[in-house]
Amino acid sequence: MDTLPTEFDLIVVGTGLIESAVSAAASRIGKRVLHIDSKDYYGGLWASFNLENIETVFSKPQSNIHNAGSEDVQLDANQKKLVIGNDLFEIIDIEQAWHVLEKDKDYDSSLLKTKDVAEAALEVSEECNAESVDAVTKEVPVAVEANAESLVDEIQAIAVQEAIEKNNDVDIQEGAVAVIEAKENAEKETDPVLEVKEEFNATNDIHVEAEEAQIVEEEHLNNVTSLEVSAAAVFKPWSQESIMKQSRKFNLDLTPKVQFSRGEFVKLLVSSNIARYAEYIAIGRILTYLDGKLIPVPCSRSNIFSSPHVNVIEKRVLMKLLSTLMDSTDKDFSEYDGKTFKEYLQDRKLSPELIHYIVYSIALSDDETSCSDGVKNVKRFLASLGIIGQTPFIYSMYGSGEIPQAFCRLSAVFGGTYALNQPLSHFIYDEEHNFKGLISGQQKITASNLVTGFEYAPNEMVEKKEMSYISRGIFITDKSVLEADKQKTSLILMPSKDGKTLCHIIEAGHWSGVCPKDLYIVHMSARRTASAKEDLKYYVDTLFSNDPNDTKPNVLWSFYFAIPDTNDKDYTQHNSKNSFFCPGPDSDLDYDNSIQKASKIFDEIYPDSEFLPRAPDPDEIIFCDDSDEAAEEVKEAGAGDLPQEIEKTEEKQDSAEISLN
């Protein structure tokens, strides 16, 4: 294998979105770029993984940063080594679980000995026991096929008995309390009545079943709720085995994002010609949760007029309001300085339903969003409507992990050197805090500037303050949250119970290239307040069901984690004028703010150059067979750019020529 070249204009460490965009922009203007990553995949925290890989991605050390060989690297007298990576940046709340049985054959009761099934069922029940208090509302580990009834009864009896034996000292009282609470809630609470009632009914069903299975200790029921539900179910049984067999068809985003089809980011993709490296899919509908059910948000003109959820008068009011907002200027809202967007709408005497649609969906806001931000968001939303499909949004095929790779591709096409899976150990700085280079294995590689993902920042250069996190959940489900006549990728915008935060939820199916047929991927992202699982519990409980016979989807696999949000505060502290730290993913729905950050970093390093000008089309590159020069001539479509373009290309060749031998 070749060894890496050792001298560059710019070293970019990490292949997240912002790093990749800066890399592409620098290569594009002819800078010699080394783009290096300690991981063996592109995208860092912006990557997508198949099912097999995502389970291991956080379990191994988060990078292969190490010291081997670095002591052999000679430094100048005034130089020092800083270990790459810091203690501040950490992924937390990681919790992965299957909610189906392990093997296909576990479902095939006719081929099985009772004992095997019972063991498999016991596994499931053990999982429930671990959280007996939650058992009533817990998402269900599914499904033992119950064709042969006597067999099922037997299995139940065995499994339950074993469960009971195992849990003699289990919190029986707590389990009982949970039931009582559920009942009380059903009576007391008026708000999520439907939800609670469903839970309540489910609990009752279980009682009946349990009696049939001749089980005396009713208190124990809660410990085995899920088992009971699943054992009685008859529906297409997914198993861990059958899902894992198709592992490679999954593209699970660590950072799922949609793109405004006429937002800054998409404009840049198109204008820079990077768009050709990726494919997209329309977000077909936006859903919100209102009055106990999921409703498509009427957002486009035709949606508004055809929506059964808005009456004729409301249709007119909504259309009028949207066009008022669209044509408005900042001073139209001067009296709402310091007030929320919701207050503005309330003063317009809109119905609560309309306010709900506008605040949480069209304005992508919550109850606390300021009026000016709300208006700004509405304008942004409307500006991207009517471009592609029924909503303003598109999603990248095969998941969001494709996007950083598109930028890397452009960087490579323009001469960027790519090296993944590198043994990065130290950054080298001089006494004046100038970045001089880095150490990878036994190699010292130098460059004039450093751009690096925050996760690689040395401890000496980060400020220890409290970190914010984004709570994430990824779910594999067996049906859509809202079945439709046509397959649609959905964006679900759900306010929290108190309206203070908005949870971003994306549901995609096999047509988006993110999962096998007949399965769905649901991504949830919300601000972390307690833990990933707790923060998302309300949404999980609302959208999904434990009951296989329910119209709501069942969760087959779940994965919770929380990633640091390094955007809201500056966590770096350093005096290095040639080091630039890229924040990780933010909590936005889209990439517009992130790409702005990339552009800003680029401007700081190369203030006189354009950020990602249009790249020539492949057929504009002409290969000349000039025996001495063998220069590629780039014919730029914009005639004015022609001389400049040729100059850049030549400059690059000087720096990148490598002799064959």
Partner: protein, 208 residues
């Protein structure tokens, strides 16, 4: 899928650095050859319109853009490939030895539906150069062991067998795509972004 629909074939070229991937592409598309080696720059993908079995197709040939040099080709590169061209240098045995790992890498990353039937084509390039390191027979044996991959000995420099090889590549890519389309149309709603003015509808009609 309707046969009058414009057919776009994606072909990826893989092989060690310096075996002549970019030169082969250039020779095929532009009929030009440069003797001076430089790590691939500016080579992205090249497009050629051609007729295969009486059908007009557009073949997009994707270069590695140099990302193979340090084993850093991302999965996005492989997406949706209809044919994979493997290239080695007949004067450099180590580039022949790498073929297995390139083939494996492709099958893992692209994960085609039927890996055993996915069309590969092997090109032994630089037959104009001496001394020969890998015999024709040895290369053919390898191809036989991999479910009879077609094999061509080429010289990008002398334009030897290049046209023939790419004809074969196009034909195999087309048959691969036909097979897939007959089975089911996997991604009907896919959108390509080009000029902002001519956005393509995704089946949903524009709303406002």
């Amino acid at each position: 899928m309707a046969s009058n629909k414009k057919i776009l074939l994606k072909v990826v070229i893989l092989g060690d650095s310096g075996v002549g991937k970019t030169s082969l592409m250039n020779q095929y598309i532009t009929k030009k050859f440069s003797n001076q080696y430089k790590a691939t720059i500016g080579a992205d993908f090249l497009t050629k319109e051609l007729i295969v079995d009486d059908r007009a197709v557009t073949m997009q040939i994707w270069d590695t853009a140099g990302q193979e040099r340090f084993q850093s080709l991302g999965v996005a590169f492989y997406r949706g490939a209809d044919c994979c061209v493997l290239v080695f240098d007949v004067t450099a045995p180590n580039t022949f030895k790498s073929l297995d790992s390139w083939r494996d890498e492709f099958l893992i990353q692209a994960s085609p539906r039927e890996p055993e039937n996915f069309p590969f084509v092997l090109l032994g390039n630089k037959v104009d150069l001496e001394p020969r390191g890998i015999s024709t027979k040895r290369a053919q044996q390898w191809c036989q062991s991999k479910n009879n991959i077609p094999y061509f000995e080429t010289s990008a420099k002398e334009a030897l067998n290049v046209e023939q090889a790419f004809q074969c590549i196009a034909r195999n890519a087309l048959s691969q795509q036909n097979q897939n389309d007959d089975l089911y149309n996997e991604f009907p709603d896919q959108i390509k972004l080009s000029q902002p003015s001519k956005s393509s509808g995704s089946g949903d009609s524009c709303a406002c």
